[in-house]
Symmetry: C2
Subunit: 426 residues, 2 copies
């Protein structure tokens, strides 16, 4: 029998047992979503030269307003020319400021004059530069030479890709993401494309759901199929996971107390079971083990999560315990789920047995997706957070502030703010 | 000259000019992140039979506590047997309830007895079932036959993949996502891997940043490289975009008022420019055009966004105007960015010229990433929201409530809630 551990203890145990995977070198275009494994430093200043912020005229600011010869054109991508006082140069945005010039007057503050009799272009400076440096980006004003533009541990998004390109970091060291195998267990399971269910059969949902969740975390998913409730078949699948060199194996089903539940006994024989019972609802039979030896693509052993077979239990335990582990392996400094606060829009019945901590102080609106039975996957449809409900009798009244863990991109909920945050209760 | 339009007007104009792309059929494992293009209906009830919720014994609930013969085993994945009153059957989680039985007693409420002299397995029911249906999931209690489990327009995440697998929807109709070409323009640009910058040169960042942003939205990105400040070269790239059958072309640079800015004149010649100047900071020269004819992979014409060349302007206008367009093309019913509210942790200088609307009522913490000059991409590093600041003189004091648009996954900000929301000011 396993000691019942709290969710926090389960998470801590997992995060202690794993470590970031080795780093790999990736090209710029492949690095989105990874965590940077090195400081990235600018080798040159940006801009590398004093650059015009506007389209207009490079001037000697002390010359002031008046009519000027346009001595030459200073175009982006060309070497800086040399400007004599008493003349101006046409300049485009991003072009190097000519030597001798100290400011730019934007085109809107000038007036084109008719060319001189010798064909000389001329311009009237109507509103002069305020002083040296006006509308000029000084060398290194965006990025100083030697500056750390992205620190080790940064998460790489689109803006970070832009920064890497800017400083010439065409390849970067990032932490590798886990390869995750998914295995469903159960004599009752058939493939989703099964046209006609036989007696006692249901379609396997967990394998596809967990693979999708792993992929959404940026991991590669390896499909190990379905193992029947037969220890030899389950063990063979474990060996297949090891042979495929995956870092993480997610099983679902077979972790309850029934005499056809073989996952825990096999894990005990082959490695170390760190916990086998967690104080949460749903998800109580969640099991975590590490298999010793040289398994895993990094030779660090295989990490195994035995998830419950009920689909809601399986996706909830994935989010609460597996996802932080995948993030930690990928180098996230803070792999835990983000906690927000939300105001209940409806009353919710509490469960006295298995507690969750509650806190307060927020403004998002929470509605339960209802139907908390752990087999009922419809309760996870459109869910973007998991409510953390206190262990208590009775009802949590509407208007209560509850704590919630984000499991989906709130930014993808583009709806106006009056639309509620939809949450299944734990 | 172009009329200055508001951000809201720009967004509305774009959303009016485009429509969702045609739907495509995808396998279950490829459908994450897409919008469902059809109602998905359950063809059978779930569970398809009365199923045990626990490992334990199937009983006739009226029999009550006492010692019973274990008549047979009812295992998951097998056909339901027939139970006679006065006996019980061993049953595993998910197994069909035997005919004649009406409840399940979990194993924890029973005691195994020594077998009878004839070898007959026997069990003591210590704590009986409360009544018919106890620990049994009735047929269709999770999903009714004929129920719409996912409606057209649903966004498909991991839980939704599980639902699709459950009801046997091995392939689904989803809206296709846009193919997006990225093109940088400017004589000053060189590739990121350039070892030594020449006079007046800088590395191209926008193309890689915008491609990454398009990919993060699930789109395929096509790299058209760099066009010099030469109308013939720009036009050739436009033709290449059309020949490649992309849906959207993102250019950056060449949309200002300088005489080397060719994007707008070419768009005017080849199609319809809907706007060329937006009241926002940064991002004012943002240009939107549609090219008539049979361009675009769906034969609906090519949608072109001329983004400003400064990298901050370019990623900000991408998020505010392009991203909603890509979402609308992918079938999102509400493609606009999600608005949240945040409390300023520091004072911010306001800009009287180009307004943004402000609202109030929230609890996230906002700190500015500083350095608002539109070339300074460092100000976008780690940014996850765009503040919407009112047009006004002076300072917005710390403690003010401001409205903000999410541009990153808050759920990926796994840090505790006291860590601030980091935002660049518009
Ligand atoms: Mg089972
Ligand atoms: Mg240019």
């Amino acid at each position: 029998m396993y000691r019942m551990v709290s969710i926090a203890e389960a998470q801590e145990t997992v995060l202690k047992a794993i470590s970031p995977l080795p780093s790999v070198s990736l090209g710029l275009s492949d690095a989105v979503g990874y965590i940077l494994g090195e400081d990235v430093i600018a080798r040159e200043p940006l801009p590398p030269f004093p650059a015009s912020i506007k389209d207009g005229y490079a001037v000697v600011s002390a010359d002031g307003p008046g009519d000027y010869d346009v001595a030459f054109e200073a175009l982006a991508g060309t070497a800086a020319g040399h400007l004599k006082a008493g003349t101006v140069a046409y300049i485009t945005t991003g072009a190097p400021l000519p030597e001798g010039a100290d400011a730019v007057v934007q085109i809107e503050n000038t007036e084109k004059l008719p060319p001189g009799s010798d064909g000389q272009q001329r311009v009237r400076i109507v509103k002069p530069a305020k002083g040296p440096g006006d509308d000029v980006r000084a060398t290194g004003s965006d990025i100083a030479s030697g500056e750390v533009v992205l620190a080790k541990g940064s998460r790489i998004g689109a803006a970070e890709i832009g920064l890497l390109a800017t400083v010439g970091a065409a390849t970067v060291q990032v932490w590798r993401k886990a390869r995750v195998a998914v295995l469903s267990t159960g004599d009752e399971l058939v493939e989703p494309d099964c046209a006609q269910l036989g007696p006692g059969q249901i379609r396997d949902a967990n394998r596809f759901m967990l693979a999708a969740a792993a992929r959404s975390a940026g991991c590669e998913a390896v499909d190990l199929g379905i193992a029947r409730d037969d220890p030899a078949q389950v063990e063979a699948k474990f060996q297949e996971a090891i042979a495929q060199g995956v870092d993480v194996l997610l099983t679902s089903g077979g972790v309850s107390v029934g005499d056809r539940d073989f996952i825990k006994p096999i894990l005990e024989r082959q490695g170390t079971v760190h916990f086998g019972k967690v104080c949460m609802k749903p998800g109580k039979p969640l099991t975590f083990a590490t298999l010793n030896g040289d398994a895993g693509s990094s030779g660090r052993g295989l990490v195994v999560f035995g998830l419950p077979g009920n689909p809601v239990s399986s996706i909830v335990t994935f989010n609460l315990v597996v996802l932080p582990a995948l993030r930690a392996m990928a180098g996230w400094a803070e792999p835990r789920l983000r906690r927000v606060h939300a105001r209940m829009q409806m009353a919710i019945k509490l469960d006295p047995e298995r507690p969750e901590t509650g806190e307060s102080a927020g403004e998002l609106a929470a509605v339960s997706t209802g139907g908390q039975i752990s087999s009922r996957l419809l309760s996870m449809r459109s869910a973007n957070a998991l409510l953390e409900l206190p262990a208590a009798q009775g009802l949590l009244p509407a208007g209560s502030l509850v704590s919630a863990l984000l499991i989906d991109d709130l930014g993808a909920m583009t709806v106006p703010e009056e639309i509620p945050l939809v949450v299944p209760t734990l």
